[in-house]
């Protein structure tokens, strides 16, 4: 392969960050951008507004259904960041005077939850950051011990954004229900891929997003169980059951519903097969590689592997020059120059984060993509190890 040929492709393996929009989603949205573009009016409004209202209601029903909830329990937002902000800050506003100012989150939450908790901490709330084990599972005993009469909310993600570990939210929900504490889960990465039925799981607030399932970005939702105490936080009009003001994003809502409809168990199984194929090949063919997270209890579309003795940004740049998009937990890659709080949270040292690469699959990936990235990464890792001062002794020992 010549260098020119190398860059003449794009294999996108960063679907946890953003996904390509599905054309069918765009087609479903189109009428609400060009024809029925009116604001959703009440049933006493004008026809275009009534049609818009009906489309929004239908989309809401589809989203609520997907979570085993009633339509009036689902509000649309601008994405999972906003949803988690509403969940944490809305509950904090509603309950701090009535009940207490203690919140519990896991230490490997994604930034919307983690930074909302930190922002509340600055406002005088107490936050417990639960530890996780080496595979990223929350310590349920620590959760039980941490809940007090002052605790108003537990927020533990459904699955991790980086290492894919799926939490036992049924157990978490059981504990919270027994102790009468609200439970929020960030399901951004599991929604439609890993079952979550609010009729079966005692969860009160669920964050979801369209951007992870080939839907429109800037569209998400928060499912709020009937009767949950939550204060309005975005002030303005009376939209979204008077919980989130702002002009409804009807094309987004319709696109989100279409995106949900297009995810099938068959497709999810296909993603899982790609994931397993990638993990099996990488661990077998690239020496000194370690899987981050659990082998099976992980997102079907996520693999995260540390390649020891090499640095992540060097790997991603080499891959980028050969047409692959992946992400890394290395400090050198991040805007904050901080190593991944998830990898350090699971007890990994800086070095483990430094050489970690996350691969996340989507609808437009094939097994051929997996084989291609394994081959190129094996070459890249070997090349970078040849110039690394680390790892030479280990290789000699093996030889």
């Amino acid at each position: 392969m010549t260098e020119e040929e190398m860059v003449d492709r794009l294999i996108y393996l960063d679907n946890a960050a953003a996904t390509r929009l599905d054309e069918r989603v765009l087609e479903a949205m189109r009428p609400y951008l060009f024809d029925t573009y009116a604001v959703a009016t009440s049933e006493f409004g004008y026809s275009q507004g009534i049609e818009a209202r009906e489309a929004l209601d239908e989309a809401r029903e589809a989203l609520a259904n997907a979570l085993g909830a009633a339509p009036e329990e689902f509000i649309f937002t601008s994405g999972s960041t906003e949803s988690s902000n509403i969940a944490l800050k809305g509950v904090a506003l509603a309950l701090s005077k009535k009940k207490g100012k203690h919140i519990i989150v896991s230490k490997i939450e994604d930034f919307p939850v983690l930074h909302s908790a930190q922002a509340l901490e600055k406002q005088g709330f107490q936050v417990t950051y639960l530890d996780v084990d080496g595979e990223g599972f929350v310590d349920l005993d620590q959760l039980r011990d941490s809940i007090s009469n002052e605790t108003i909310l537990v927020s533990i993600q459904h699955a991790n954004q980086e290492i894919g570990t799926i939490q036992d939210i049924e157990a978490v929900g059981g504990i919270c229900r027994e102790r009468e504490v609200l439970f929020h889960t960030d399901a951004t990465h599991t929604f439609t891929r890993v079952p979550l039925d609010m009729k079966k799981i005692a969860v009160d607030l669920v964050t979801v997003s369209a951007h992870t399932i080939h839907g429109p970005r800037g569209t998400g939702g928060l499912c709020i169980r009937q009767g949950t105490q939550i204060a309005k936080w975005m002030d303005g009009g009376f939209q979204e059951f008077n919980l989130r003001a702002g002009l409804e994003n009807i094309p987004g809502a319709v696109g989100f519903a279409k995106a949900v409809e297009l995810v099938t168990p068959k497709e999810t199984k296909r993603l899982q097969e790609m994931r397993d194929h990638l993990i099996d090949r990488m661990l077998a063919e690239i020496p000194h590689s370690t899987l981050n997270g659990h082998r099976r209890k992980r997102l079907p579309q996520n693999a995260n592997i540390t390649f020891h003795f090499v640095e992540g940004e060097s790997m991603t740049l080499h891959l980028d020059m050969r047409g692959f998009a992946v992400s890394t937990g290395s400090a050198c890659f991040s805007r904050s120059l901080e190593a991944s709080h998830v990898i350090t949270g699971i007890g990994g040292d800086h070095e483990r984060a430094h050489g970690s690469i996350r691969f996340t699959f989507g609808r437009y990936n094939t097994v051929g993509d997996v084989d291609a990235v394994v081959q190129v990464l094996a070459e890249t890792v070997e090349e970078l190890r040849s110039i690394s001062p680390l790892g030479k002794n280990e290789e000699k020992e093996e030889a």
Binding site: F309, E311, S314, L317, C332, L337, S386, I387, S388
Partner: protein, 211 residues
């Protein structure tokens, strides 16, 4: 395609020069930053008659700018006298690469320091170093000139971030004019500790931030 680096950086990243170890080097050093995680080792062979660098090699466990700077610094140093090589600055290395992103300064400065430390290592082994000087405020200030604020790409002394330095009974206190929750406090603190702690008569380093 759009890359965050210049063509020269990418060229050195893909095909780094003078990579590897020198067997029985005359001087060697490893520089690493716990804040960033990058590491670089530099090995030199010295021609004693002329006091020039006859050969220089490097190894990198780091990001693209770390590798590229390691590569360029070996090219810049080869054939130079020890004094000339010691005075190669990060700015010169960066300019030779057509410029580096500011935020990458602290990863790439490691190679520059690696070369200086390898020369120092040679000088120490060959009795060319003067006696140990006690640590003073000025010594600390000089060392802090190597700590880069990733936001500006400039060192923390030059940008007046270091508000106060106190040295007393082996304890060094550095007051940094940044809010405690600033994005880069952890990096800057780690780098300050890394620069000051190795001083022979320093027992404790305390880094404080303003509110």
């Amino acid at each position: 395609m759009k890359f965050p680096y210049t063509d020269i950086v990418l060229e050195h990243f893909r095909h780094p020069r003078n990579v590897g170890k020198i067997e029985n080097p005359d001087g060697k050093a490893t520089e690493g930053s716990p804040a960033c995680g990058d590491m670089v080792s530099v090995y030199i062979k010295v021609e004693p008659k002329t006091n020039t660098i006859a050969d220089v090699k490097f190894e990198s466990y780091g990001c693209a700018s770390n590798i590229a700077t390691g590569s360029i610094i070996t090219e810049l140093a080869k054939g130079k006298t020890l004094d000339e090589a010691k005075n190669i600055t990060w700015k010169e290395a960066s300019e030779a690469l057509g410029g580096l992103p500011k935020i990458k300064a602290h990863c790439s400065v490691l190679a520059v320091e690696g070369l200086r430390s390898a020369i120092q290592n040679y000088e120490e082994r060959h009795g060319l170093v003067k006696e140990k000087k006690p640590t003073t405020v000025e010594v600390v200030r000089q060392r802090l000139r190597k700590v880069i604020n990733p936001l500006t790409g400039l060192n923390v002394v030059r940008t007046n971030l270091v508000q106060d330095i106190k040295v007393k009974d082996g304890t060094v206190r550095v007051l940094v004019d940044l809010p405690r929750d600033h994005q880069f406090v952890h990096n800057i603190k780690d780098e300050i500790l890394e620069k000051i702690e190795p001083l022979w008569d320093v027992k404790e380093v305390v880094v404080e931030f303003t509110e």
